[in-house]
Symmetry: C2
Subunit: 134 residues, 2 copies
Amino acid sequence: MQKVQLKWTKGFQFIVRDDLGHEIIIDTKKEVGGTETGFQPIDLILVSLAGCMAFDIVSILQKKKVDLKSFVAEVEGERCSEHPKRYTKITVKFKANREVNKEDITRAYEISQDKYCSVLATLKNPPAIEFKIE
Amino acid sequence: MQKVQLKWTKGFQFIVRDDLGHEIIIDTKKEVGGTETGFQPIDLILVSLAGCMAFDIVSILQKKKVDLKSFVAEVEGERCSEHPKRYTKITVKFKANREVNKEDITRAYEISQDKYCSVLATLKNPPAIEFKIE
């Protein structure tokens, strides 16, 4: 079971806390009334996906004894212009130091994609979502 | 277009940066080789969903001139035990100060759910996802 708590501070700012006590701030853009003090929730779905895959890829490349020196994931999301402005397309780009074969990275993300990435599997198979008022 | 960059540091730790320059750390649990220095990617999908809805709810309640003093969202996710361990169920609990009518909170999350929440709409309608190696 994964758990997080979001506590409203002011405006659209919330302090978010996980089970291990890590905290991050979420907020939104000034143009929609926020104060831009932290990540937007909509961006965190991109972080979640790219992060989960990146963990798998780094892990797989290291098990292969690949000489990994740098690794970057860049992720972009295109949204509908109409409410609810959902993501219609997400593009994740992976880049490692040039000594790493692109085929090795491709094989690693395919393994992540087909077998291990929990976030990708959640995005592809919508979970049941329940709301409660306490 | 939403954009984020994830840069590997060591182990399973990445520094994540958004377009406005905010940074967060992601990492994973010690039991799977991480160092627990930041949020897990799998938790951020919960933050994304609960945060997006919480923004809508706070906004709607304030427009209604409700006397909102505190607002907390708690979100839990149940995962499959088998790989890829996707979320099968997500439960979001909302709690405000007791002066706020539960009916007002219910109406607010229904509006978010039906009309505005970009993250919920993305979870319900899987986006196209593309990977590139650079």
